[in-house]
Amino acid sequence: MSSAGTRERPTGLTRELIAMRVARELRDGMVVNLGFGLPTLVANFLPPEVTVLFQSENGILGYGAIIQEDARFDQDRINAGGQPVEIVPGAAFFDSAQSFAMIRGGHIDVAVLGGLQVSEKGDLANWLVPARGGGSIGGAMDLAVGARCLVVAMEHVTREGEPRVLEECTYPLTAVAAVKLIVTDLAVIEVTPEGLVLKEVAPGLTAAEVQAWTGARLRWTDPVPEMRL
């Protein structure tokens, strides 16, 4: 199953469409933390009837759009990705110890993190590419163990076509048995006590094709619906 290395990469959803699919998981009133990169895009695709509060681990509950105008840049008003952000009505500020008390204490409904690898037990690896060394943990390990629901948004395979969803992660872990839902450019996969369940496939793909690009056994019930966008 992990011998996909030489095949051409499948054509899946764009990053924006992955983010759009993740956004559908969010419900009105939720408190949500979005990690660096792809997860950040989720904020752009909230259904109009859904109001969520975005938490940023650097000490904001209630940030809004990224500020583009240079004149309104303020280096103290940034999210955890360093981006200048709007503050929404009903926001609150706090320090890092309070922020991680909030995160570790189970008060964040959903965290959306990027991933390098996810195992069929829900282990997540996202902080270090061994070949590159160094690494940065940031808030990822706390968010992974603390959020009530951890969603990983990532490309289904590496640039080289290697699966990122595996029986066991080969990269150093961020957290063990933490991931609940995997949303990729090819599929939506739920992590259950019985293993990985393929819930949705990207338009034009079959369940068997997704399985071929996946390094762990998927279970599904035919017909597997297309990803809801």
Binding site: G59, D76, G82, S96, F100, G133, G135, A140
Partner: protein, 229 residues
């Protein structure tokens, strides 16, 4: 109990070679740039730095110009992307500086413990990862935790928005971050601020760092840092 110092140089005059220094800030928000640049100018060597990050939206990387850092304790140091390498990253890869990475919430909580007289604490963050190496693991109520010890420093360099002459500090937006916890956990706490006011001019309901924690205050220079991914 005069806490106001005439210059950053005067405020850090007794920082010694080999000192452990906490630096507040999270990327560009609340980073004590005036004090960091004074430290660079002073040229002390062999510093162990404790900060959330180095080389992303802070000027800590400047300390690497003259190899002043012996070690960094932080959560974010090496960027995952192929962005330009910081001096710190270059020196780290050459084995010229040590790096102790830890989860951001663990870093914040260890500093809080150092200031709060807590001897050690159990956190679920990092269980099953490289973070648990050599640490005591304990199962409490069916969940695994790692034992983490307090962190303290000889000095803490902070950035706040305003101080009164007693040393009460108020912050703006997301700039409390590590400043508010580090204020509690160092032998000598030095804060640079945008404005110094008289006692009574700050609303006591707004004070985030009570005066008891702050030893020295200095008016900082304005350093705009534009950094975001």
């Amino acid at each position: 109990m005069e806490k106001v110092f005439p210059s950053a140089e005067a405020a850090i005059a007794d920082v010694f070679d080999g000192a452990t220094i906490m630096f507040g800030g999270f990327a560009s928000a609340g980073s004590p740039t005036t004090l960091i640049l004074a430290l660079k100018h002073k040229g002390v060597q062999g510093i162990t730095g404790i900060a959330n990050n180095i080389g992303i939206g802070d000027r800590l990387d400047d300390l690497c110009e003259s190899f002043q850092l012996k070690k960094m304790v932080c959560s974010f140091a090496i960027r995952a992307s192929s962005a330009a390498k910081s001096r710190f990253e270059q020196q780290y890869r050459q084995g010229l500086v040590e790096l102790e990475l830890m989860p951001q919430g663990t870093l914040a909580e260890r500093i809080r413990a150092g200031g709060a007289g807590i001897g050690a604490f159990y956190t679920p963050t990092g269980v099953g990862t490289v973070v648990e190496a050599a640490k005591e693991k304990r199962t409490i109520d069916g969940r695994d935790y790692l034992l983490e010890y307090p962190l303290r420093a000889d000095f803490a360099f902070l950035k706040a928005h305003k101080a009164d002459r007693f040393g009460n500090l108020v912050y703006r937006y997301a700039s409390r971050n590590f400043n508010a916890v580090m204020a509690t956990a160092a032998d000598v706490v030095i804060a640079e601020v945008d404005e110094i006011v008289e006692p009574g001019e700050l609303d006591p309901e707004l004070v985030v760092t009570p005066s008891v924690y702050v030893d020295r205050i200095v008016k900082g220079d304005r350093h705009v840092i534009r950094w975001y991914t």
